[in-house]
C-alpha cells in the first residue's frame, strides 16, 4: 500500500531554509510574504495490509524519518 508521512518542524524551531526563501521572495518583489516553513512528505510504497504494517511504519517514521526533538509527523494511509 501507499502511505504518506508528513514531517513538520515543531513550532518555535527555527527554519533557516524557510527564512532564506522568505528573504529571497521579499527581495524579488513579494514583500507581502511574511513567513515560510519547509516541511517534508515521504511517499512510501510498502508491501502488506495496513494492519500488518501499521506498527512498523509508525516505528520507522518516529525513529528514522522524523527527528522527534525538533519534528512531528503524521501518517496518511492510502491504498
Amino acid at each position: 500500500m501507499n502511505i504518506k508521512v508528513f514531517v513538520s518542524l515543531r513550532e518555535g524551531v527555527l527554519d533557516p531554509q524557510g527564512q532564506a526563501i522568505r528573504e529571497a521572495l521579499n527581495r524579488t518583489g513579494y514583500s507581502n510574504v511574511n513567513d515560510v516553513r519547509v516541511n517534508k512528505v515521504f511517499e512510501i510504497s510498502v508491501s502488506g495490509s495496513k494492519d500488518s504494517i501499521k506498527a512498523d511504519v509508525e516505528k520507522f517514521s518516529k525513529e528514522l524519518l522524523a527527528n522527534p526533538i525538533i519534528e512531528t509527523f503524521r501518517i496518511e494511509w492510502g491504498e
Copy 2:
C-alpha cells in the same frame, strides 16, 4: 492568509534521497518497503486576500519554489 505549496518530483525523475532512505530502511529490517520519494511542502504566510495574492503565489511557486523541468506543484489555500 496561510497557504501550502506541495512540490513533487515528476514521475520518472530519479530521487536519490528517497532511494538512500529506502535502502537504509531495507537494511534496518524493513524489507517490505519498496519505494520512497521525498517531496516538499512550503507553508507560507502571505498578507492579503486570496483574490489579491493568487497570481503572485502561482507565479513564485512556478518560478521560485518548484523547478518545472523536474517538479510539479499544487497550491492549497487556507485561511
